[in-house]
């Protein structure tokens, strides 16, 4: 465990360069996606095994708190995918490792270029949803009750 503390502390303290930050971001994004994915898979499986729970969770996930998380996962997937591709390409083309600085720069640029418009789209959808509910006298922040979806019970 001491090595965990050391790594975490020094990964921040050590004055590494783009490579170290790419690695940190890749690792953290990978973990974030995994966390989301596991929930997502088990949850989606409910569409078959337990529709009531699934529909309830759909409603729950419309909560802006989850919405923000979703944008985060989007960021994670995009970065992780681009950076993973970068690593893969360089791994199979070793001589390109000479240009790793450039390659991380390209990855980050690409990531922001793609992510920003997507984030805007997602955010506006979320805001639209909330204002719609608000005009109907409801709140998008309300946690839906499980019983609301009794018609889906098997």
């Amino acid at each position: 465990m001491s090595s965990l503390i050391l790594t975490v502390r020094e990964s921040i303290r050590y004055r590494g360069r783009s490579g170290q930050y790419s690695w940190l971001a890749h690792r953290l994004s990978g973990l974030a996606i995994l966390f989301f994915l596991v929930i997502h898979v088990w949850d989606t499986a409910n569409a078959f095994f337990w529709p009531q729970a699934y529909v309830w969770s759909l409603a729950l996930f419309k909560n802006p708190l989850f919405g923000l998380g979703e944008i985060g996962v989007m960021a994670a997937v995009l970065y992780h995918a681009f950076n993973g591709t970068r690593i893969t390409i360089l791994d199979f083309k070793p001589e390109w490792w000479r240009h790793q600085r450039l390659s991380s720069l390209i990855t980050w640029t690409l990531f922001f270029l793609v992510f920003i418009p997507i984030a805007v789209l997602m955010l506006s959808a979320m805001i639209g949803h909330c204002s719609e509910l608000a005009s109907a006298g409801d709140s998008c922040l309300r946690i839906p009750a499980f019983s609301e979806f009794a018609q889906y019970a098997r």
């Binding site: 995994l34 596991v38 759909l58 979703e70 995918a81 690593i87 199979f92």
Partner: protein, 136 residues
């Protein structure tokens, strides 16, 4: 002094090597290959499900429409088979950086493998047996 004018081949010598089979090596390859596959599958999935169709208007009926086609079912199953093992293997890589006790590491490995198998089977059943006609 004729020797100096002779020239050896300009071609690089390439030789074959024999390396013992090793799980690490295949895992490494799998991470990259599944990664490339997911570049299309996962990013595509994210864009389609979470951008083009916002989850704010996602409904069971929408899922039913999608899963009425075997094409989409296959897409999702394939993504599932890539993503879960990839992600869990990634988690295992990270854990094995810090878990140095071989016994504990093995146990974690076994548990994670069981988890992958359970998840993949469970979700595959769900997707493939999902019958859109049953949705009201």
């Amino acid at each position: 002094m004729a020797a100096i004018t002779e020239k050896t081949s300009d071609r690089m010598t390439v030789r074959r090597v024999q390396i013992e089979g090793n799980r690490e090596r295949y895992a490494w390859l799998f991470m990259r290959l599944s990664g490339v596959a997911m570049l299309v599958l996962a990013v595509g999935h994210m864009v389609i499900q979470h951008v083009l169709n916002s989850s704010t208007n996602l409904t069971l009926q929408f899922v039913a429409v999608q899963w009425s086609s075997w094409g989409w079912k296959a897409y999702d199953i394939f993504l599932l088979w890539m993503a879960i093992p990839h992600g869990i293997r990634g988690l295992f890589n990270i854990l094995s950086d810090y878990v140095h006790n071989p016994g504990l590491k093995r146990t974690i490995g076994i548990l994670l493998t069981l988890f992958v198998v359970a998840t993949v089977i469970w979700a595959t059943i769900a997707i493939s047996l999902f019958d859109s006609a049953m949705i009201p």
